[in-house]
Subunit: 221 residues, 2 copies
DNA sequence: GATTATTGGATAGCGTCGCTATCCATGCTT
DNA sequence: AAGCATGGATAGCGACGCTATCCAATAATC
C-alpha cells in the first residue's frame, strides 16, 4: 500500500507518518521507484503501536524510538530484551543527591525490595528507571508527611507482583518470540491507563461504600 | 515567611512561585504592606503538593488548579468532593464516535463493570474521565489485536478493587476532613508512579523467573 | 534622612515537544 | 501529453511550563 492508504487505514495524517519516518519510529517502505514506496501490514501494525504508545501511553517520541530499537535488537536474549525495552522508558527527575528525604526514601525502597525478595531493580550497578522513579515518588510523599514506609508499601508491592503474573500470562499467550517482545512493551505501557482507570473507578466505589449512608447495597467482588 | 524563604524551603524558584500564584494554584499571601506578603506553613505545604502533582504526577497546571479548587469547594459533601477532585483530572483523547472498535470497547467495559458490580462510572448521565480513558485504552489494545475482553480485564479490576481498599485505608488515617480530601487527591496521583514502578520491577522479577534458566532460586512472596 | 537592597507584581520571551503546512522535483496514471 | 499524486525537505505553529527582565514601592542599613 502507499503512504496515503497507510494514513487512511491508521487514521494518522500523512504529514505525521512522514514525521515518524524521519524520527525513525517507522521503517521506511520498500522503495519501488524514485518517488514511491510500498508499505505493508507490518508497517500498519507498527504505526498503530507507535500511536498507542505516544497518545495513550504518553511516551515521548524520542523514548518510543529507543524502546522499539531495544525490542528489535536481536543481539539480546529474550529476558534481556524485555528488560532493555522497558529500561528506555521515561526517566523523570533524578532523586537528588544531597537530599536527606531522598536518602531516606532510597533506604525505604531498598528495604522493601529486600523484604519481598526482588533482585532485579539494578543491573551492572546502575539503578533501573523504575527503581529511581519509585524512590522519587516515595521521597515526595514523605516530604508531604504521608506515611510511606515498608509496611505501607508492602501491600502495593504484593499487588504489583500479582499484576506481573497476570501480565506475563498475557505475554506468553503470544505464539512467536517477536510477538512476545512486542506484547511485553505494548502491555506494559498500554495496560497502565487500564489499570489506573480501574483504580480510579474502584476509588469511587470504595468511597461510596465508606462515606455515603445506605452504601451501594451489595456488589461483593 | 517571605516569598524568598518560601522558595528556599520548598526548592522552587521565586519566579515559578509567582507563576503558580498567577495561575491560582496557590493562595496569595497575607498582604502586610503594599510590597510585601506573608506566607505560612500552609502555603509551603500546598506548594509542595502542587509541585508533586505537576512534576511527579505529570498533571497539567490548568488541571491542577481545577483539582485543588474542587478539593476546597465546601459546598460539596465528603464523598462528592473526593470524586469531584479526581473528576477534573486529565481527559486525554475522546473514544471517538463512529469507530466500531471504540463501540466494541465501550460494550466490553460496560459489561465488565456490570459483572463486577460497580456503579459509579457515570454521574448525571455523563461518563467519568476514568471510564472514558478505560474505553480508549481497551479500544487501542483491540486495534492491536491484543485480547482484551471481560475475562482478561477481570483480574485487573479485582486487583484495582483491592488497591482501592488499601488506598482508602490510608485516606482514613488522616484525622481531619480537609486532610482526607487532600490525601485522596495526593494519594490518587502520587501513588500512581509508585504503583507503576512496582509493577515494572515486578515484571523484571517475573520475567526472570520464567525466561532465565536457574531462576532466582526462591523469593516466594 | 539618604542610600541601598529587597519585595511582589506585570510582561514578554524562551526551550521543548508533537506535529503541520508548504514547497518541490519526480514520475505514475490515463 | 497532461495532470496529479508521491515522497522528501524545511520551516513554522500552538501549547506548555517556566524564566528573565523591568519596575515602583517599601524595608533595611548606614
Amino acid at each position: 500500500m502507499r503512504l496515503a492508504e497507510l494514513s487512511e487505514r491508521s487514521g494518522v495524517s500523512t504529514a505525521t507518518i512522514k514525521y515518524y519516518l524521519r524520527e525513525g519510529l517507522l521503517q521506511p517502505g520498500r522503495r519501488v521507484s524514485a518517488t514511491q514506496a510500498e508499505y505493508d501490514g507490518a508497517h500498519l501494525r507498527r504505526l498503530r503501536l507507535v500511536r498507542a504508545l505516544i497518545q495513550l501511553g504518553k511516551v515521548p517520541v524520542a523514548t518510543a524510538r529507543e524502546v522499539i530499537a531495544a525490542a528489535e535488537d536481536e543481539s539480546l536474549d529474550h529476558h534481556l530484551r524485555l528488560g532493555a525495552a522497558t529500561w528506555a522508558l521515561p526517566h523523570g527527575p533524578e532523586p537528588g543527591e544531597g537530599d536527606p528525604e531522598a536518602d531516606a526514601a532510597g533506604r525505604t525502597v531498598a528495604e522493601l525490595l529486600e523484604h519481598i525478595g526482588w533482585q532485579f531493580g539494578q543491573e551492572a550497578g546502575e539503578l533501573s528507571p523504575a527503581y529511581r522513579k519509585l524512590v522519587t515518588a516515595v521521597a515526595a510523599l514523605r516530604r508531604l508527611d504521608y506515611p510511606c514506609d515498608v509496611a505501607h508499601l508492602l501491600p502495593y508491592a504484593r499487588l504489583a507482583a500479582r499484576l506481573a503474573v497476570t501480565d506475563m500470562d498475557l505475554v506468553e499467550e503470544q505464539p512467536t518470540e517477536a510477538g512476545q517482545i512486542e506484547a511485553a512493551v505494548a502491555l506494559t505501557v498500554l495496560y497502565e491507563p487500564v489499570l489506573l482507570s480501574l483504580r480510579r473507578l474502584a476509588h469511587a466505589e470504595e468511597s461510596a461504600r465508606r462515606f455515603t449512608d445506605g452504601g451501594t447495597g451489595g456488589g461483593e467482588v
